[in-house]
Symmetry: C2
Subunit: 686 residues, 2 copies
């Protein structure tokens, strides 16, 4: 042995250095820039700084490491162990001191900036850089020989122990500071927002810090409660958006506001009340107090965004569709009556354009199309479809007025996705007999036990994904042609084809369907797809496709590499049927996927990784906005996209997607009309 200081190697970072005998491991780690957490500031109280001593010979480092390389189990470690036993080989790095060469493993759970791996296979992990952090500090007692306020001495401690400077403090924290310091025997934990503002104070050590990621949809509000330290989602919940009583879809809510003085304020109050209720619910199910929720992030489409902020959305109801603001906002939660911790802050993601909201920004943050060369199409279908297209070079976005047909509205038997709604449909190509599944049961309608399984809910209507499938299946079975016209001649072949005024309809479920059994009386309503229903879906999908086509044209591309369908609709839809219907452009089917609740995921990323806020703010500014309402080409794309499958899709691609029967119309015609118009016609200046 030479007389050199012991070598300490930290894994997995590989950072290493020599330290005098007696150096606490935490101190060694910090001087090397190794990321180890310690809410209590290294006092052996919080146990966050646990490390594992490696045992054995590490040739690579030239080190023999063992538990004997460290000082014996200390008094604080014994005290901590009595409260919460330390696993074998684990030490508190604030207490364990270097005695000889040693290899120290820092587990992910002890890192401040760990990562959260997301379920979706290919997506990026979330880095944990919460904006609100807890700091435990010991504060000097007041001294008449050197008078100073308690707050100043708190600042002094936060500066010396945590390096925090230029702090400010919420008034209510100041109001609680003196009792907290005395109750905590001059030790308190403070919550600091953005390293600058003290928003909470608790006597002694306080370790609960939670955040809430909120996605305000026009139908559903979803919230995910996250541990701001681990990044884990500890509870999730969703409620119906209570604004539904003012109008089912977005535009009817804007109309409500226009027609009723004070209407916007009523809708604002309704959604805010729902948010606070949701916060209480998730807190309760996680077994925490809602007062431990220190921050929330919010996404929503522009109208939801404006209404929750108390901004009348009337300007979004007509051209030029001016947002009050497109910028992100950081506010106190209580300015929107959001009952979390009394000084909790909220971050509202930026909007992209008048109809492309903070929800679309959340989707972009969740999917990060800008990180890849692959041309990615992101689609969130609602009353308006929000569409983002691009890759690392360029991003464009627009919204397309699909109307509410995809959400089941304006369809004779349509309904929202809810238990009892038909969500999957197959039609026998020969007999034209249907079978289907309803939400709430895994059985097909022709399987044994279906009647019993659906007895509770009944069969109440057809939801968006069900409508997509039934129209596509009707096409595949030859019930409708490419132009969407119901073939009345089939009435001769099947009782499912019935006259309906001057046109025909497909009878999905008769009033007294024998298959549903005696007990299924609630479900025994007549359900049919009319010619008008088919037209409504054609209009919706043509609008969606036209928006996409406009963006592709803007980028000068005729092919996308990846498609992500976001939102509830995107999660339930079978991408194969979406392709058959011609909702989205040609794409390798393996690359068409649901993005889940991408907007909500974006809110969660913005919550956990504060650096991501700057990222999305910059990205949103970079995105080129396309306003479909003033693009003369939109109408042309729209008309061209009415056919099923849309006329720009090549038949060859469609054959890859599905076992496709020969089209009833002339195949050659489809092929001809399938040429992209912009190839043959120059784009006229608008």
């Amino acid at each position: 042995m030479t007389t050199r200081d012991p070598l300490v190697v930290f894994t997995p970072s590989g950072k290493r250095g020599n330290f005098p005998i007696g150096t606490p491991l935490l101190q060694a780690a910090r001087s090397l820039g190794v990321d180890i957490d310690a809410v209590c500031g290294g006092r052996g109280l919080c146990g966050r700084c646990q490390v594992l001593v490696a045992e054995g010979e590490f040739a690579k480092h030239g080190v023999v490491s063992s538990s004997a390389s460290l000082s014996p189990f200390s008094e604080p470690e014994q005290r901590f162990s009595r409260r919460s036993p330390l696993a074998a080989g684990r030490r508190l790095s604030c207490s364990a001191r270097v005695e000889a060469d040693v290899v120290i493993d820092v587990p992910a759970s002890s890192q401040v900036h760990r990562q959260v791996v997301r379920k979706e296979a290919e997506t990026h992990a979330i880095e944990i850089y919460p904006l609100v952090r807890l700091h435990y500090v010991q504060v000097k007692q007041p001294d008449m020989h050197d008078p100073s306020g308690d707050l100043r001495r708190l600042y002094d401690s936060l500066q010396s122990e945590w390096g925090l400077t230029d702090l400010a403090t919420d008034l209510s924290v100041l109001q609680m500071l003196q009792p907290a310091l005395r109750a905590g025997a001059w030790a308190v934990t403070v919550a600091v927002h953005a390293g600058k503002q003290i928003i909470g104070v608790w006597p002694g050590l306080h370790e609960n810090a939670y955040g809430l990621a909120v996605d305000i949809g026009s139908t559903t509000i979803a919230a995910h409660l996250c541990d701001l330290v681990s990044g884990d989602v500890v509870a999730s919940a969703g409620v119906m958006n209570p604004q539904i009583r003012f109008g089912e879809d977005l535009m009817s809510r804007v109309s409500y506001s226009m027609m009723n003085p004070g209407g916007a304020a009523l809708m604002t109050a309704a959604v805010r009340e729902a948010l606070s209720g949701l916060a209480l619910d998730v807190a309760k199910s996680a077994g925490i107090s809602h007062e431990d929720i220190l921050e929330a992030t919010i996404v929503g489409n522009p109208i939801m965004h404006h209404l929750v902020l108390g901004i009348d959305p009337v300007e979004l109801g007509g051209a030029p569709f001016a947002l009050a603001t497109d910028m992100s906002m950081t506010l106190r939660a209580n300015v929107i009556d959001f009952k979390l911790h009394r000084n909790a802050r909220i971050y509202v993601l930026p909007c992209i354009a008048g109809h492309v909201g903070a929800d679309a920004a959340g989707m972009v943050l969740a999917e990060r199309p800008d990180l890849d060369d692959a041309m990615t199409l992101l689609v969130d279908v609602g009353t308006n479809a929000e569409i983002v297209l691009g890759n690392r070079d360029r991003l464009v976005a627009c919204s397309s007025p699909t109307g509410p047909a995809f959400e089941g509205a304006q369809i004779s038997c349509g309904q929202r996705a809810a238990p009892g709604a038909i969500e999957r449909v197959r039609i026998d190509r020969e007999t034209l007999e249907p079978r289907f599944k309803v939400i709430g049961s895994d059985l097909w309608s022709d399987e044994a036990g279906f009647a019993e399984a659906t007895e509770a809910t009944g069969i109440t209507g057809i939801c968006g994904s069900g409508i997509i499938e039934i129209i596509a299946e009707m096409y595949l079975a030859g019930i409708i042609n490419q132009d969407g016209v119901l073939d009345g001649r089939l009435a001769a072949r099947s009782p499912r084809i019935v006259a309906n005024g001057r046109t025909f309809a497909y009878l999905l479920s008769a009033g007294a369907e024998p298959k549903q059994g005696a007990g299924a009386s609630r479900g025994a309503v007549e359900m049919k797809i009319t010619q008008t229903d088919v037209r409504a879906i054609q209009l919706a999908k043509a609008a969606l496709y036209a928006g996409i086509a406009l963006l592709m044209e803007r980028l000068g591309i005729d092919h996308v590499d990846r498609i992500r369908l976001a939102g509830a609709f995107g999660s339930h839809i079978d991408v194969k049927y979406a392709t058959i219907l011609g909702m989205v452009p040609d794409c390798d089917l393996a690359q068409v996927r649901s993005a889940g609740n991408a907007a909500g995921t974006g809110a969660r990323i913005a919550l956990l990784d504060s650096n991501s806020r700057g990222v999305i703010e910059a990205l949103v500014r970079r995105i080129e906005k396309v306003e479909t309402a003033i693009e003369p080409r939109f109408q042309q794309h729209f008309v061209e996209a009415m056919a099923i499958p849309h006329k720009t899709a090549t038949y060859a691609h469609l054959r890859k997607v599905v076992d496709l029967p020969p089209p009833k119309d002339s195949t050659s015609q489809t092929e001809t009309r399938g040429r992209r118009p912009r190839r043959t016609e120059p784009i006229k200046a608008g």
Copy 2:
């Protein structure tokens, strides 16, 4: 004539430059850094940028100037003149253009940073640098070809027209922005706080911006409404502090809080309600809306400071007298329920120490002892006297527990300064007969018409300044000796000297005083000064003097150059009597003066000159705090200061102050005891 560009000379600044023909004067002024106001951004709307064309030959500048040197009266000037006629020779500098050499006078009223001259002769003028400023801007209309939020376009205009960057906006402004922009035909006025936060928005041109300077005393709350542009005080008002019902003096209010759970909250609510009422009152009397009050500044002693902020003052009730905070604070007015403009901000001046509050900081800001070589003593007498001593080199401060005797409490006939209270007293040295004045009348009690003049109020008691005078006059008349003992032997000479238990008293007013006439029945109460009253005043003045002596000792001085007595008591007191009584140290009587409501003046300075906030924050940190409670020398000074005049005052000085009779005690003894103890005795370490 050469072909050079015309020369423009601005007076009084003397700034000059050559500008091409056609240059607007405002633009020329700005390029030279000449300070000209223009709320409307140079659109001829606000008329703030008026200048005067000089007529004649200006040899010094080599310029012949006349109205012909400028472009003819413009369309905007004619329009403005119809609303508000321009005086002869006046032009709007935004509209008038340079045609030839010209001399332009910028009147003070057209400067952004003008000065407000204060009434007090020698004090510094207040520079006007309000933190909240109004900016009129034209905002680009929304454009579907380039979608952006209204707020972003507002920011763009504020940046290009006013150079404002990195702005943030209060949520309620955002809520009002869209209707305001449309009502104002895309022109709005915004109020910007500290150049960074938009706190208000109005359609079109809005020119009202007011601020409120508030001094929360334990007895009275005073408020001055100031025009943030001119700096003028447009209205003032005062109300009783409603906390009086919880305790007359400070310590009884702290006791109330200690004894009654929720007591502090009741006192907080009471003072906050009074503040809002006061704001409404001053706004009404100035004929403005309280919503045009965009900022307020607040001073108060530490207990008032804590209570208005909602901080329980319990820690200030006992050692170590820890303030929750000594630092200044900038808050939203609504966090203390202060009903001004909904987004108004408040600035609370810093405190100096546990018993030396933001009121003392205000006094320091008003008097600025740090700007001078002269050694200045600032005293604000209340239940505690707040004392600041020093000059440009060094400042020290303490508070001294005078108790409420100077405010008329604990004196048998004492009362607060209010109509009906005796405030001036003279005693005939021969007959020992008194004459006096009461608040509300200018007549002495022996003048004709006194009875009628005081009939309405009656004679209800003796206020602080009256007590000072009567004790001093009793000394000068030989009724009490240097030790404050009433000379009972004088009963033989005058019916005014009466037995009072085991001691004596001086009868100021008998129950049926013939002088007061038949109508003065309300005033015909017996009023006498007892031995106990004399002792109470001796204790109070000794405490005050001991605090001053401690600070003088700390600075190693035995003489002060100037004395300023602040607060209501300081305004009413006759400095001659204060000197006779030995409340303050030896000083040239011409240099002893009332500072008026210095704390309130400090609040006004902080309101109008935002730069002064940094000044007082830095000054407060520089001030050395002396805690009288732990200074062993305090007790010694206190005992030594009991005598009248205090024994450290030289008789020679006293003779300069007043036509002094030979002392009843031995003069030589007074001279001997008049030496400052610290000269002969070394100071012992505490």
